[in-house]
Every structure is written in C-alpha cells, then in structure tokens.
C-alpha cells in the first residue's frame, strides 16, 4: 500500500498538478506525520517542506514531535507562529465573548473545551454540544451550549484552521509546490474538518484511509513511537479534548470496524458477533456514522454554480 500511495502522490503532484514538491502542515499528530513521511518517500525529502504552525493555545509537545518527525525523514521545516495573526482576526476575543455568555466569569486564566456525548452505542442520543470551563483552581463547570454561543465559538475557533491553510498556500505558491491535506477518512467523510481550513488542499493522500489504517501505515513507515502513541486531540481549544469527545463519540477501533462492516453490507447481527457488541449497539453505530456523513455533505461540495 505504501508504495502505491507514494506512486499516486508523485503522479498527482508532478503529473496532474505540475508542481515541484509538497508543503505539509505538521502538528506532531499521526495523520500529518504519515502524510509528510509518504511525501518524503515519494518525492525525496528535499522536495518536502513541513510547516509547524503553533498558536498560544497549542499543546507544547506538538512542536517537539513535529521536529522529531522532520529529523527522522530528513525534510526541512519552517516555524510560523500564528498567534498574532489570530489576535488580529479577533479569534480569541470573539470566542471568549461567546463563552462569557454562558460563563460571565471566564477569562484568560480559564481553559475551555467543547464535547459531545460519548455513549452513542449505549443509547439513542442526539449529538449536542456541551461547553466545559476550568478555572485555575481546578473548578470545572459544564453547560449545554445554545446555538448562538456554539456557532460563535466554532466560527472563531475555525479561524485557526483557516489561517493555517492561508499560511500553507503562501509557502506552497512561493515555491510552486502543492499543499497536502492530512485528513483521514474518518475526518473527511464524517466532516471533521473546517471548510477551506484544514479541508483546503491540493491533494489528500490519506482521505480514503480509516484511522486504524493510518496507524498501521505509521508503524510501517517508521513514524516515531511518541507520535504513534499520542492520543489524537483537536489541539484547537485551550483545554485538551480528544477527537472522540469533541466529535466522533466513539473510539476509532469501533468506529472504523463498524464503518467497514456497514460499507461491506455486513449485517448488524454478524458485525455484533465479531465486535462483541449487541445488535442494537451496531445499529446505533451504523446510524450515527450515516447521519454524520449526510449532515456534512455540504463541507465536501464544491461551490454551487448556476449553469
């Protein structure tokens, strides 16, 4: 699979896009690490540029892990701290203003995160968003978000992904290289990306791969262990939140296995046996994945035109 992927990346970048190399946003996470490693293998490390784009709320280890990756695969990196750009766009100020509608005492000494229910196999539940804040004494409060607060928090936070996309294209266009998107199939098809943010790219070499396949590829390619073992987070909010808590509601193993089963028309009864779940749990899992795919179709659409 790795060789085939590399051949495709080479053909897409040189043949289809007519570009000389690849620019990859590297976060120290497994997806961007696998993408950068594949590009280095496909094009040669001299034709890959890894861009690290931390901001003031990024996890400290992100940069360390990204540098370790670059060292392992021999490609060049550039550091672009996007905090001042985000300040200029009002990212933090607009987001915090929305948070204060629910928690008036919220200030820069607090951390915050958004979560969804994670018991989606156990019972029928709607995906709704809860805002959790923690003060510096460790006191935690949570409230369900009304739509106006949720939408403003997300719209402000999405500025992070959109500014990163802008930064990647600056570096790519300067070199006449291509921007490589790093989303996997779970993210791409269920809509866990920002339109024209991390969803904005010239090619997406792992958008057809389940997360568990990305892990397998990472091990095969020799991605550093610390990156492989790191729990996937959103690295978007000031409080750490896993991708399962924020969006998927399910661990990657069960999600990918259920999705594979669903795509291959495996009956809930059969899937239940293999996965040691009840039939009802499998049916809920199938339904949840289908709903997310349908609800986020607009994210994968090109702009609508009148013809």
């Amino acid at each position: 699979m790795a060789d085939q992927l590399c051949q495709t990346i080479l053909t897409q970048i040189r043949g289809t896009l007519k570009k000389g190399g690849a620019v990859v946003g590297i976060s120290g996470g497994i997806d961007s690490s696998v993408c950068a490693a594949l590009c280095a293998r496909a094009l040669g490390p001299k034709k890959v540029l890894g861009i690290m784009m931390p901001e003031k709320e990024s996890a400290g280890e992100s940069r360390t892990l990204a540098e370790k990756l670059a060292q392992k695969f021999g490609f060049e990196t550039t550091l672009e701290n996007i905090s001042s750009g985000l300040e200029g766009m009002g990212c933090y100020q607009r987001r915090d203003e929305a948070i204060r509608e629910l928690f008036p005492e919220f200030d820069s000494s607090y951390t915050a995160k958004i979560t969804n229910p994670t018991n989606i196999l156990e019972k029928e539940t709607f995906n709704f968003f809860t805002l959790t804040v923690e003060d510096k004494q460790g006191r935690i409060q949570s409230k369900r978000m009304p739509p106006s607060v949720y939408l403003q928090v997300v719209a402000s936070s999405n500025l992070k992904q959109r500014l990163r996309m802008t930064t990647l294209y600056y570096h790519a266009e300067k070199r006449n290289w291509a921007v490589v998107g790093t989303g996997n199939k779970d993210e791409h098809c269920q809509g866990f990306f920002v339109k024209y943010g991390d969803g904005g790219a010239d090619l997406k070499p792992i958008a057809h791969l389940f997360k568990i396949q990305v892990y397998q590829l990472a091990e095969y390619l020799g991605v550093p262990d610390e990156i492989v073992r790191r729990v996937p987070t959103t690295d978007t909010y000031s409080a750490e939140v896993t991708q399962e808590e924020f969006f998927f509601g399910l661990d990657f193993y069960h999600m990918d296995m259920l999705w594979y089963a669903m795509e291959n028309s495996i009956s809930p009864a059969e899937a239940a046996k293999v996965l040691d779940l009840t039939v009802e749990q499998v049916e809920r899992g199938y339904a949840n994945i289908e709903r997310k795919i349908k609800a986020t179709e607009y994210l994968r659409m090109n702009p609508l035109e009148i013809v």
């Binding site: 969804n116 019972k123 029928e124 539940t125 709607f126 995906n127 709704f128 968003f129 809860t130 369900r144 978000m145 009304p146 739509p147 949720y150 939408l151 339904a287 709903r291 349908k294 609800a295």
Partner: protein, 87 residues
C-alpha cells in the same frame, strides 16, 4: 391547571421546523411521526436550535439527559414531551 393542547404544540412545532429547516411545502409532507434524525431534517446544530425553541416557547428547561430521540425526534414526540413537562 389546564392540560396543554398537544395539537397546538404539533402545529407550532411544524411551523418552526418548516421555517427553520425545510424548503417550500416540505413541512406539509412531514408526518407527525416522522423521525427528524432518519429524515436528515435536524443535525447537531439544529437540535440545539430546536431545544432552544421549545424551552423558550413553552418556558421549560430541557435537561441534558432529556435530549433524547424519545423526547425530541418527531412532532409527536415533542408534543408528548412538552405535555409531560408541563402536565
């Protein structure tokens, strides 16, 4: 206290769903028992809007553990839920 008129709740909810999530005369084709989730009418942002509407319209509070399809996932379910909350 008079029991809430569930037909009136159904009409008001149908109006809200039509104005907020549907196009043209789609709201007239929606059956009272149709699941919003299964018909792709309401997504995760939409459910917040629906919950906020019900809370505001009927001056009640929906607890997090009440944010379940049995209570909110069709016009019928919503009418029954509102009646139970206010009954």
């Amino acid at each position: 206290m008079a029991a809430i008129d569930q037909s009136a709740v159904r009409r008001r909810v149908r109006e809200f769903i039509g104005e907020t999530f549907l196009v043209g005369n789609e709201k007239d084709k929606l059956n009272d028992s149709d699941s919003f989730m299964q018909h792709g009418i309401v997504d995760s942002t939409g459910i917040l809007e629906l919950a906020t509407f019900i809370e505001s319209e009927y001056s009640l509070t929906i607890e997090d553990n009440e944010m379940v399809p049995d209570n909110l996932d069709s016009i019928d379910n919503l009418a029954g839920f509102v009646a139970r909350k206010l009954g």
